[in-house]
């Protein structure tokens, strides 16, 4: 019916301002889709509506044949949709390892009193969370920083930690909000490789917002372009590059 993931006519109005209007998108399992557009086009608002950070004014979000529109953020995350933040939002006072371990919390079997009494099951769960978190850090090349404060990491590695933390919720759909922002060209190409590796290894479906066109064109199979909240184009990277509407949106009338 609605397939793997679908949004139908998602609309967000802030007072008189229509930030996003009638945003419809269908994702098949395993796809890697890019969402681009000039600043203020409403890309992050789309992410916020999908994940439940904002309740849409109108429209629907379907996930695995169920409507999840307006579900709270934490429940959407628990159902397997994870996201990273454009303006990095790590738990700065906790260590890198702890940041990742938080994401395992929502599905631990232990009750709080088992933890207070330090029962064997609580210890086993803790050990397992720690092991799986270290594996993820290893995968993202952050293992050697496990015991550093998250806030003390250099910028590029904070971005990687955001991804590690999102992956730790064990999502099936990963939303990346400008993962390459602030990275140099070399780091950006590393990241592109990482994203496509992670997608294969964790059988992820990825929807990403990015301004770095080289990154988007290299990585994405399909691209959707937003301008002033309206979808102006959709297609393969090659189609988007030659689309006159898109060129106009980015460069203005020529």
């Amino acid at each position: 019916m609605h397939g793997f993931f679908e949004t139908k006519n998602l609309t967000m109005q802030f007072g008189g301002l229509v930030a996003v209007s009638s945003f419809s998108l269908r994702l098949e399992q395993g796809e890697l889709v890019g969402l681009i557009g000039p600043n203020g086009a409403g890309k992050t608002t789309v992410f916020n509506m999908i994940t439940g950070a904002l309740a849409p004014t109108a429209g629907h979000v379907y996930w695995q044949e169920q409507e999840i529109t307006g579900l709270p953020l934490n429940q959407v995350a628990a159902r397997g949709i994870a996201r990273t933040f454009q303006n990095i939002r790590l738990f700065v006072d906790m260590t890198v390892l702890e940041n990742v371990m938080v994401s395992f919390h929502h599905k631990i079997p232990t009750m709080f009193w088992e933890c207070m009494l330090d029962l064997p099951r609580a210890r086993r769960t803790e050990e397992q969370i720690k092991r799986e978190s270290m594996e993820l850090l290893q995968e993202l090349g952050l293992a050697h920083l496990a015991h550093e404060k998250a806030g003390s990491l250099p910028y590029g590695q904070q971005r990687r930690l955001e991804i590690a933390r999102a992956l730790a919720t064990r999502p099936r759909l990963l939303l990346l909000d400008e993962p390459a922002a602030g990275m140099n060209p070399l780091e950006t190409m590393d990241l592109a490789q990482l994203v496509s590796d992670l997608r294969a290894r964790h059988s992820l479906t990825v929807l990403l917002i990015e301004h770095d066109m080289k990154f988007v064109m290299r990585l994405c199979e399909r691209i959707k372009v937003l301008d002033y909240g309206v979808t102006i184009a959709e297609g393969t990277p090659a189609e988007i590059q030659s689309n006159s509407e898109v060129i106009k949106a980015y460069l203005g009338d020529i």
Binding site: N74, M101, C115, A122
Partner: protein
């Protein structure tokens, strides 16, 4: 021997040493010293449980005096005998079945804790609908409401007259036993996955939610656990001072607790313990300044309340020189203590070179 095993052994050893010291005080200490130690233990229990909400979850909750009140009254009403109750409630008689209920001390403490938890649960929905300053005001309000209710419900609380002549059940073993148990259980909770979720909510609630953490469930958990131990401590307090009345549980009590955990370091259990111990001991030590002082030439008459002035100055000094309190968010660990002692001069020079 693994590090975890070593730390566990050292902790057991530390507790044994603590209770040996207490035993020596029991044998040779004056009543006055024992009283300060009892106070200290109760304050430690209160500060550690208060810190779980304010320090670990990072919400400004200003109503722990409500939990302490509920615990103290519940426990007091249960240990008083029927005859004592009849003698106390002279204006309005105590309602049935409270008038005939009687329970041993330990049961009354647990009942105090459980009722405080129930009360916390009842107010949790309005409290956690808001955050920040609003939450502070709501909880401050509930704290006052409970005090006013204590004054008004004469048939339950005996109104402003309060409950008098309680048995002095609280001794060093009870007060410190509860304090040590509270520290252990709450530390385990803080260091568990649940504690991590609470800290995540403190650092960034939106990000925590995006990682699947339900803020309401975890704030509620901290709130209820905190209320339980505060209630038990209220019961201990009642049976230490043997007379309770609504004036004992004003906002001033909350303010003192807040001072303890801020001076100790918000978010640090070690800090809460230090803050409470300093407060209990310092409060008594500073009584000196309220006595008349004879400087030979001039005589300064005793000024009541001078202690609080000095406390305020100390508080400001801590805030100026250690903005995050004595401990910050750091915790005591055996690792750190061993590191302190094993720092040999040769080790120091190798670091320098």
């Amino acid at each position: 021997m693994s590090k975890a095993r070593r730390d566990q052994l050292l902790s057991v050893l530390g507790i044994l040493v603590l209770f040996s010291v207490l035993y020596l005080f029991q044998l040779f200490g004056t009543d006055y010293q024992i009283r300060i130690l009892n106070n200290m233990a109760i304050f430690i229990t209160l500060a550690v449980s208060y810190n779980l909400v304010n320090g670990i979850c990072g919400i400004l909750h200003l109503g722990p005096n409500a939990f302490i009140t509920v615990g103290a009254y519940t426990s007091a009403l249960l240990t008083m005998s029927a005859a004592e109750k009849q003698a106390s409630f002279i204006i309005e008689p105590l309602i049935w079945p409270l008038s005939v209920l009687h329970a041993p001390f330990v049961v009354s403490l647990l009942a105090g804790g459980i009722l405080a938890t129930l009360f916390a649960y009842l107010i949790s929905y309005p409290v956690f609908r808001v955050r920040g300053d609003y939450l502070a005001i709501v909880t401050l309000g509930f704290g006052e409401v409970v005090r006013v209710l204590c004054n008004a419900f004469q048939t339950v609380t005996n109104g402003p007259l309060g409950l008098k002549g309680l048995q002095p059940h609280t001794n060093l073993w009870w007060s410190w036993g509860v304090a040590v148990l509270t520290i252990i259980l709450i530390t385990k909770l803080i260091n568990s996955s649940y504690g991590r979720a609470m800290k995540a909510i403190r650092d960034d609630e939106t990000a925590a939610r995006a990682m699947g953490v339900d803020p309401f469930r975890h704030l509620l958990l901290a709130f209820l656990v905190s209320a339980f131990f505060s209630g038990v401590a209220g019961g201990l307090l009642a049976h230490l001072i043997t007379t309770i009345s609504p004036t004992l549980f004003t906002f001033f009590l909350t303010f003192n607790l807040l001072m303890m955990i801020v001076v100790g370091g918000l978010g640090s259990t070690t800090g809460a313990v230090l803050g409470a111990a300093l407060f209990a001991w310092g409060g008594e030590a500073l009584r000196v300044v309220e006595n008349p002082i004879n400087l030979g030439v001039i005589r300064i008459p005793g000024i009541p309340g001078m202690r609080m002035v000095i406390f305020s100055i100390l508080l400001m000094v801590v805030i100026v020189f250690a903005r995050r309190g004595i401990m910050g968010r750091k915790e005591f660990s055996w690792e750190w203590l061993i590191g302190k002692f094993s720092k040999s001069p040769t080790g120091g020079s190798s670091v320098a070179s």
